[in-house]
């Protein structure tokens, strides 16, 4: 989105380094993420794109040996600062994982999980509304409205992933991080998710890590190319795919390595 012709920057990362123990996984990443756009992060396996994604909601905290340096500024606030409340941060920044990971609970409970822990609903009716809206936004409502109280693990893979998206958007996050959300899905389910991503960008800023360059080209407006822990090139998807500046980028998107 442009406001007065100026692109709004939602996330601004400055000199981000990440270490796993002694091994450095990311080197000096400077990347701006535009608001209400889809940004794709591409690159060969092990290039650090998922690591970078996990920096944005501090999921790397879960890994004992992982250290993050540098600044990641979201809404004028450095999330790596000590004063940052991780619970609030993750309420603002949702995440969808590579493999669908619904909780072994009912569909309803899967969605109501986030709103419950953040105290977002005052009554049962309010919660019902949140669940319904989230499922509708995730294009899953029609398929599951009659079996909300059946286990979420009983759904098909594509449905499970949309359930996870519904779970993520139930707390109305500003940003949604997606870590290869379609890699475990078939082409039809993938197309549904991609359609959904396009829809979601109206209300959310989306960052998607993907192995499929075709997918990056289809869903994203901006693209960043990672290689060996460095951000090689970033810019509008059009430019990256049609006219990359860096030779490595060109080699990768034309399939010469990766």
């Amino acid at each position: 989105m442009k406001k007065n012709g100026v692109k709004m920057i939602k996330i601004n990362s400055k000199n981000v380094d990440v270490f796993y123990g002694k091994k450095q996984a990311l080197f000096n990443i400077n990347l701006d993420i535009e608001e209400n756009q889809v940004t794709a992060l591409i690159g060969p396996s092990g290039c650090g794109k998922s690591t970078f994604l996990r920096c944005l909601n501090r999921m790397n905290d879960v890994i004992d040996i992982c250290r993050v340096k540098g600044q990641i500024i979201i809404n004028d606030f450095d999330i790596n600062d000590k004063s940052c409340d991780v619970v609030r941060l993750r309420e603002k920044i949702g995440m969808v994982f590579q493999k669908p990971n619904p909780f072994p609970k009912t569909i309803y409970e899967n969605i109501s999980y986030g709103p419950t822990i953040h105290g977002m609903a005052q009554s049962k009716n309010e919660m019902d509304e949140i669940v319904e809206n989230s499922l509708k936004k995730a294009a899953l409502w029609e398929e599951v409205k009659d079996r909300l109280h059946e286990p979420g693990t009983g759904l098909s893979g594509g449905q499970q992933q949309r359930l996870c998206i519904a779970r993520a958007i139930s707390v109305k996050p500003e940003v949604i991080l997606m870590d290869e959300p379609c890699s475990a899905l078939d082409p039809i389910a993938t197309a549904q998710i991609e359609e959904l991503i396009d829809e979601l960008k109206k209300d959310h800023t989306i960052i998607i890590v993907t192995h499929s360059m075709a997918q990056a080209a289809r869903v994203s407006q901006n693209t960043g190319f990672f290689h060996l822990g460095e951000l090689i090139e970033h810019g509008s998807t059009d430019k990256i795919f049609k006219n990359p500046e860096n030779k490595r980028t060109q080699d990768y998107i034309t399939g010469r390595f990766g």
Binding site: N57, F97, N101, F103, I117, R167
Partner: protein, 461 residues
């Protein structure tokens, strides 16, 4: 001599392995492709060498004594002895032949003893000869059959299959045997004591059965009010309950701590340390309960003005609970650790804290496994004997006061079977009835636990 034969067969088996393999190698050396790896030919020959010999050997061991006995006693067959007398004569003959007989030696006996020794040496020699012949024949046969187009892998695999099958069969047959001996004795017991009295009677006093004069005929009416098992059933479940009240919270919380909170280093040391608890013999727990915890509780109770028996259900149950902690903590730790990381990630990514994640996602997901571990703990508690015998006394009081002494099924079995006892006596058979009851209870608990665990497994597969 038997040991020598045995070792000889084993050694020959090993040797023929090498010969079989060697022949296979030599066939291979002529650029012929074998149907199996050379060691299979070795195993094949070793099996041919050892198995027929062992079969003959064991058949001989089974039948030799009875055949010898038949031949010896055939001399006495026309003298009109009773079976018991014949057995006695045979035993006398045997001890005389060993030179250990101290009674009156008759000519009859002397002849028999000589004949016995003679027969034994014939049997021994013919056994050696027969086994040697069998071994040679089967090795030659097996060796001849080793050729490039003879399959050896299948027979060897079949043999292994048979060995493994026999091993599991042995375990199963033992179980069946034990269960049947329990069943028959229990049935005998209930022929004298009505089932109703046993299950609903509130007075357990098996010592009363001692009073009976063995020469008098058995009169069931004198046992009324002797074998009422309610006090000991109640005591069993009461003590198990106390134990679980100690074991479940502590075990579960330490399991959760180890799985979710402890750093790798703490876990590395803490887990084995907790598991050491499981390695302490229960008799050690028993005297810990009887000599340390019991008197300690009594002192505290006296200071608080309470009447505490030195042998109390609380002491036994509490120490039993400590004994069960490692089962619950270790098993629930494993179960919690096996909850997929993706569920934790999903919960953290929603902004849940660690304790919320554990409470709302991990615990429910791991619950069936945790229930399984608790049930295994319960069946340990119900079956535990030593601690109760030592710390809670042997008097079967019907009480629910944890400060008083009470007794359990297992402890009563010990009471009944210590010292002299007569088979066929209701007092002895009462032990079988109690054992049967205990077996049924723990069996159903185990089946239930396995069901729950199985249900859990299906969840992530």
């Amino acid at each position: 001599m038997n040991l020598v034969i045995f070792i000889f067969i084993v050694l020959l088996g090993f040797t023929s392995y090498y010969f079989g393999r060697k022949k296979a190698y030599s066939i291979q050396a002529t650029n012929t492709r074998l149907t199996a790896l050379p060691q299979f030919y070795g195993y094949y020959l070793a099996i041919w060498c050892a198995i027929p010999a062992f079969i003959i050997y064991s058949l001989w061991a089974i039948f030799e004594p009875s055949i010898v006995k038949l031949i010896i006693l055939s001399d006495y067959s026309n003298q009109g002895h009773l079976d018991d007398e014949l057995n006695l004569i045979y035993e006398k003959t045997k001890s005389l032949s060993r030179g250990q007989f101290s009674g009156e030696i008759t000519t009859y006996l002397e002849t028999s003893a000589e004949k016995y020794l003679n027969l034994r040496s014939i049997a021994q020699n013919s056994k050696v000869v027969l086994i040697l012949a069998i071994i040679i024949a089967s090795i030659v046969y097996g060796y001849k059959r080793i050729s490039s187009n003879n399959r050896t892998r299948e027979p060897v695999e079949k043999f292994l299959n048979a060995v493994l099958f026999t091993a599991s069969l042995a375990a199963i047959l033992t179980t069946i045997g034990i269960v049947f001996s329990l069943i028959f004795q229990t049935i005998d017991f209930f022929k004298v004591i009505p089932l109703f009295d046993f299950i609903f009677g509130t007075h357990w006093y098996p010592a009363k059965a001692f009073v009976r004069d063995a020469s008098e005929p058995l009169d069931p009416s004198m046992y009324s009010d002797t074998f009422g098992a309610v006090p000991i059933f109640a005591g069993t479940f009461f003590i198990a309950l106390i134990a679980m009240c100690v074991a479940i919270p502590i075990g579960l919380m330490s399991g959760i701590y180890l799985a979710e909170y402890a750093s790798t280093k703490v876990r590395q040391y803490a887990k084995p340390l907790i598991e050491i608890l499981a390695g302490i013999p229960t008799v050690v727990y028993g005297f810990f309960a009887a000599l340390t915890v019991g008197p300690f509780l009594k002192d505290i109770g006296t200071a608080m003005g309470l009447e505490v028996s030195a042998e109390s259900a609380l002491a036994a149950g509490g120490v039993m609970g400590i004994m069960i902690i490692p089962f619950i903590s270790s098993l629930s730790d494993d179960v919690i650790t096996s909850v997929p990381q993706s569920l934790r990630d999903g919960s953290y990514a929603m902004g849940a804290t660690k304790s919320e994640t554990i409470k709302k996602v991990i615990f429910p997901a791991a619950l069936p496994g945790i229930v399984g571990s608790i049930l295994l703990g319960v069946s340990r508690a119900v079956g535990e004997t030593m601690i109760v015998v030592m710390a809670s006394g042997l008097a079967a009081n019907l009480t629910f006061n944890p400060l008083e002494s009470t007794s359990t099924i297992t402890a009563q079995i010990v009471v009944i079977l210590i010292g002299d006892q007569a088979f066929g006596d209701p007092k002895t058979q009462a032990a079988f009835a109690l054992g049967m009851t205990l077996f049924l209870v723990t069996l159903s608990l185990n089946i239930f636990a396995l069901r729950v665990v199985k249900k859990y497994r299906e969840k992530y597969e």
